[in-house]
Chain length 125, copies 2
Amino acid sequence: MSDEVAVTSLDDLRWNADGLIPVVAQDESNGDVLMMAWMNREALERTVEEGRMVYWSRSRSKLWRKGDTSGHTQTWSELRVDCDADVLLAKVHQEGAACATGNRSCFYRELPGSSDHEDLLPTPS
Amino acid sequence: MSDEVAVTSLDDLRWNADGLIPVVAQDESNGDVLMMAWMNREALERTVEEGRMVYWSRSRSKLWRKGDTSGHTQTWSELRVDCDADVLLAKVHQEGAACATGNRSCFYRELPGSSDHEDLLPTPS
């Protein structure tokens, strides 16, 4: 058994070198994993405060209040933290599609070749 | 709508600067999110090939064939990739506990204070 990392405040979270933590968003209605994105401390504070998921957009380097543009908001019902305090899990009510492609989940496709366990692998030489 | 990143081989995955990709493991039996860990390319190749989850341990800097020590193996039934090809989702059969603490899922605790939306936030000045 390993010990858990105690978390009594946001300071105890193990933010990465860029000050970010990955967050898995799960559909509270059916358990589907919708997406994974990142939060910095301000994003998490706003998420806790507003009851809506606010991420940090790494590509745009700014807060990303999910759904402000698309209307596809996420309101959370549970925020969980993992044993070593470096990943968060949010159970959310997803309005519309989580994915910008229009799919409800970002994980709408299988890794090509994974179903037959070989197409993706290098050809043996 | 955004375009998806096409994935026809492992080269198309968007490995991070350290050559890693985050992987969410989900219990195929009940949809619980069990853990998030990282894979490098070799770990993913072995995962695809062996049908068992093989991660990259960032703390030990070596391949981590889940369950070799604990017996708590993960065999996957589906490997999925997200729209922008930088996160994987594995649906797995979990033997025993996914978490080294002995809990079935690593997300066994709520983020403290999140249920009342305020304990974690800085006190207003």
